[in-house]
Structure formats: structure tokens, C-alpha cells
Symmetry: C2
Subunit: 109 residues, 2 copies
DNA sequence: GCACTTAATCGTCTATCGACGATAAACGAT
DNA sequence: ATCGTTTATCGTCGATAGACGATTAAGTGC
């Protein structure tokens, strides 16, 4: 890892606490599914998220809260409903931080 | 996402269960620290991992087990000690899968 | 064989997660 | 104002995670 690589990494945030929080938000299949659903709808669609998963409405709402608190998803009301959007930059920042690990040379043994 | 992108993604594995398992393994600050430590030592060093964190030996051993079971770290005995190595490909595969979400167009609202 | 070092496992405890149904809160429409 | 729709929150429960010290297992060296 070069000096400038390190600088970029610091910008992006390699803080273990922070990275772990993001990973935690990603650590449930339903939440991955939600992100994939949102990624598929390039128009950030409302809460047919609720019908897209075999889980109770309250459960999905909770998953959305976790994703929102991690900054991976944003939401805003639209009439009586809600629109959920990906925040791709946050996910990209996380993968960037991880890449400094992924790009490490493999063990030579 | 193009057709060929999708093919790559499938190869790499966008299965939510699988992705969530990897994220789960990454979801603890101590485990992130361990990966960073291993990435810094380009020679995959033994268990001065144990002295690198303010945690009991048994706790760190447990974290290493989680990382090993997720395939992110490998280990082999060297004399009476142990050598731990990153498996960068596994981490890369995970970030690749995530990038299909990270590369999604941002919400236009 | 016996001591010594190192890592993994066990047992226990507390804290957090994830699921659900029920309820509340916000809003639009009539 | 009331009703229906949509989402968030609450309360509860069982399951899992994470920490630790103690113990076991594996390997080296005498």
C-alpha cells in the first residue's frame, strides 16, 4: 500500500468501529435483499419492499431502520407512503475501505 | 447492470445468505482489526495477533475462528505456534458482489 | 516421560438480535 | 371529523453473540 493509497483509505475511513457498524448492517439476508431490490429499481421505489419479502411488515420496517441508521438507505415521505433510496456512496466507501484488505498480498506459504 | 456484469456477479455470488454470512464475519471491530493487522504484515505472521488487541486470548481465538469459518482467513501450524493468513480473494469476492449495489444509480429525488 | 509453550475449546454469564402481533402515528380522501 | 392506508414503534420471547477464566490438546525440547 502506497503513501497516497493510505491517504485515500483514511479519507474513506478505515476505522474498525465504523467499518464494523456498516458490516453489521449488511449482516442479515433480508437486508441484503432489500439493498438488491433497491438497486434493481433504478427509480427508488416505495414500500413494495414490504411485499417483496416473506416477513412481517414490522420486521421489514425494523430492517429498514437498521439500514437507515447505517446510512446505507435514505427515506422520505411521499404522500401517505414512503420512498426508500440507496445511498450508493456509503456502500462504495465501505467497499473501498475493505479493498485495502482485499488487495493485500496473499500469504506466501 | 449489463448482461455480462450479471454473469460476473453470479459467478462471484450475490446470494443474500452468503453475502450476509461474510458481512457477519466482518461485523465486529476486533475482527476488522485482525484483518487489518494481517494485511499490514505482508508476511502472514503468527499469533502476535494475540498481543495486538486488548482482549483475552480465548476471545481473539474465537474471532479468528469466525474469520476462518467465513473463509476470510486461513491458518496453518508452524511448530508449536500458528500462522494466520488473509484470503484476499474471498474479501474481493464480497466487495465485488457489493459493488453491484454500490454502482446502482442514486435515487433521483 | 515431563515440563513448557501456544492455541482451541468449554462453561457461564450478560447483552443484543430478530421475529412477531398489537398498537400508535401520520396522512389523504370522503 | 372520521375512515382507510401506510409506516413506525412497543412489548415480548427465544436464540445467538461476545466476553472471560479455566481447561484441554498439540507440539517442542530436555
Amino acid at each position: 500500500m502506497t503513501q497516497s493509497d493510505r491517504a485515500i483509505a483514511d479519507t474513506v475511513g478505515t476505522d474498525p468501529e465504523h467499518m464494523a457498524r456498516i458490516a453489521r448492517a449488511l449482516s442479515h439476508p433480508a437486508r441484503i435483499r432489500i439493498l438488491q431490490l433497491l438497486a434493481e429499481q433504478n427509480e427508488c421505489k416505495g414500500a413494495e419492499v414490504f411485499s417483496g419479502l416473506p416477513l412481517a411488515q414490522s420486521t421489514i420496517s425494523e430492517h429498514l431502520r437498521v439500514l437507515r441508521e447505517a446510512g446505507l438507505v435514505s427515506s422520505h415521505p411521499v404522500g401517505t407512503a414512503m420512498t426508500y433510496c440507496l445511498v450508493p456512496e456509503r456502500i462504495a466507501a465501505f467497499t473501498d475501505a475493505l479493498d485495502f484488505v482485499a488487495d493485500a498480498p496473499a500469504c506466501d506459504s
